[in-house]
């Protein structure tokens, strides 16, 4: 009985350890994705943009999108910077107003990064659409930061 208990304990320990390692890996890649997003932000900080500490992150399958609803204020100018740790992944970020009209005035993308700039015409809710267009991996970790001035 005690040997069986020991066996069960070992199995449980191994499972918990495996879960812990998996979670750590997931966190690590989102942090790395964030580091790319902040890297994209760096030149804009020199132009007077204040980068928020808060950010979004997750993982997406290839050719899938995610919509984030976010409050923007007329009178400010915003940049949204998206990053991924996968160099060969192609990601994008686009911004729509509450009526579904493309609101961004500028956007760019290159390996690891994508970004979009918006100068809101109205104060209200905007939709940030992030997408993984292609990727060598089944799921691609991404992170999105923003700044304003």
């Amino acid at each position: 009985m005690s040997r069986r208990l020991l066996f069960v304990k070992r199995i449980l320990f191994t499972a918990i350890l495996a879960l812990g390692l998996a979670a750590q890996t997931a966190l690590a890649t989102i942090d790395d994705a964030l580091s790319f997003a902040l890297e994209a932000a760096d030149p804009y900080v020199k132009e007077g943009f204040t980068v928020r500490e808060d950010y979004w992150g997750g993982d997406l399958a290839v050719k899938s999108t995610k919509a984030i609803v976010h409050q923007l204020f007329k009178g400010n100018e915003y940049w949204f910077w998206m990053g991924t740790d996968l160099k060969d992944a192609k990601i994008s970020i686009h911004i729509y107003d509450s009526e579904g009209n493309l609101a961004e005035v500028e956007a760019w993308a290159k390996p690891h990064f994508a970004a979009a700039r918006v100068v809101p015409k109205k104060t209200g809710s905007y939709y940030l659409i992030v997408e993984v267009e292609k990727s060598p991996e089944e799921r691609t970790t991404w992170s999105l930061a923003y700044g304003f001035r």
């Binding site: 750590q24 942090d31 928020r52 609803v69 009178g75 994008s92 760019w108 104060t123 209200g124 809710s125």
Partner: protein, 351 residues
């Protein structure tokens, strides 16, 4: 700055000259005609009505909103990894691949609920709104908006009330920055520490409080704003680590309420339609209402929290439904009255 980010920032600054180049292909914005560079995006919605299906957007994925960095062990290992990543990254070529532009219009109503990160709302910091007020006209009289008593609030009452109060005090810090009031900013830094101690998150906030004081001494107002934002995140990080997500939400809500009260005071002082429009934040109010409704009975039944919940329901219809809705001077005053009443309740002695 967080040590990890600071380390990374240093690395990035050093390699910025190499890394600053972006994609080269250019196309025109469909409405504004503005040029955009890089390979932009595929016309995802044109082909993606299907891809907004639950399987593509939500199921099987993990969605996280991090407030700062949370894994302490990872932080120890990451600087080395980031250094290696950064060195490799500095040599990457610019993008050469291009994609067609995104559609000029999408049907928002067709987005299935799974595709929205409605639970992951980032609450704007007061300076994000105050900055607009500064641009709208003559600089507001921020000193008349300040509440000197805020710097001396005590950690009385239940934890939920202290959490709300902490949010209020941090928002007061943003107002003191607008007023360029060094003494008050330093007082607020100390009060933040006192309230954090009562919430068992003093350790995580100590460094931030010191940075606030140091930046105030140097009259580095942008530095203080950044530190206040970091303080909010440090508090929420620490609370989430303590499994106190609900208190973390109350900190955000307290900050939002004080920011809103200050906004109504400035706009009422010199009404403009654009200034009043800044109060149009239905999505944020819905978010806070939802969070309050989901809280444990023990927290929800606190008289202060109950009153705040009721007040939010009163504010909701006043801020308008449609974007661009005009908010009258009378409505601005009414929102201000409700917010002021709630702030007084939050700062009152424990009921």
């Amino acid at each position: 700055m967080h040590p990890l980010r600071e380390f990374r920032h240093t690395l990035l600054t050093k390699s910025a000259a190499i890394e600053a180049s972006f994609g080269s292909s250019v196309w025109q914005h469909p409405e504004s005609g503005a040029a955009r560079a890089g390979f932009a995006s595929a016309p995802f919605f044109a082909r993606h009505a299907k891809e907004f299906l639950p399987s593509a957007c939500g199921l099987g994925s993990f969605e996280v909103r991090f407030i700062g960095l949370t894994s302490s062990s990872m932080k120890k290992v990451f600087p080395v990894l980031l250094a290696l990543c950064s060195l490799g990254r500095a040599q990457q070529p610019p993008a050469s691949e291009s994609s067609p532009p995104p559609p000029a219009h999408i049907d928002i109503k067709q987005l299935p609920p799974q595709s929205k990160l409605i639970d992951n709302v980032v609450v704007p910091v007061p300076s994000e709104i105050f900055g607009v007020l500064d641009k709208l006209g003559p600089k507001p009289h921020w000193t008349s908006v300040q509440r000197a008593s805020m710097a001396n609030v005590k950690p009385t009452g239940e934890q939920s009330q202290i959490a709300l109060r902490l949010g209020v005090v941090i928002a007061e810090g943003f107002i003191a920055v607008e007023a360029e009031d060094t003494g008050e900013v330093k007082n607020i830094g100390n009060t933040v520490l006192t309230l954090s101690r009562a919430l068992s998150v003093e350790k995580q906030v100590k460094e931030r409080a010191k940075a606030i004081t140091d930046s105030a001494d140097k009259k580095d107002w942008q530095g203080v704003r950044l530190e206040l934002d970091k303080t909010l995140n440090s508090v929420r990080d620490a609370m989430q680590a303590l499994k106190s997500d609900e208190l973390s939400q109350l900190v955000s809500l307290g900050g939002w309420l004080r920011g809103t009260e200050a906004l109504t005071a400035v706009v009422s002082d010199s009404y403009t339609r654009d200034g009043a429009e800044l109060l149009h934040q239905p999505m944020l109010i819905d978010y806070f209402e939802k969070r309050l409704a989901e809280m444990k009975p023990k927290i929800k039944q606190n008289p202060v929290v109950t009153k705040v919940q009721k007040g939010m329901l009163e504010i909701r219809p006043l801020v308008g439904v449609e974007d661009g809705t005009m908010i009258s001077a009378k409505t601005v005053k009414e929102i201000g009255r409700i917010a002021e009443d709630l702030i007084k309740t939050i700062n009152s002695k424990a009921p």
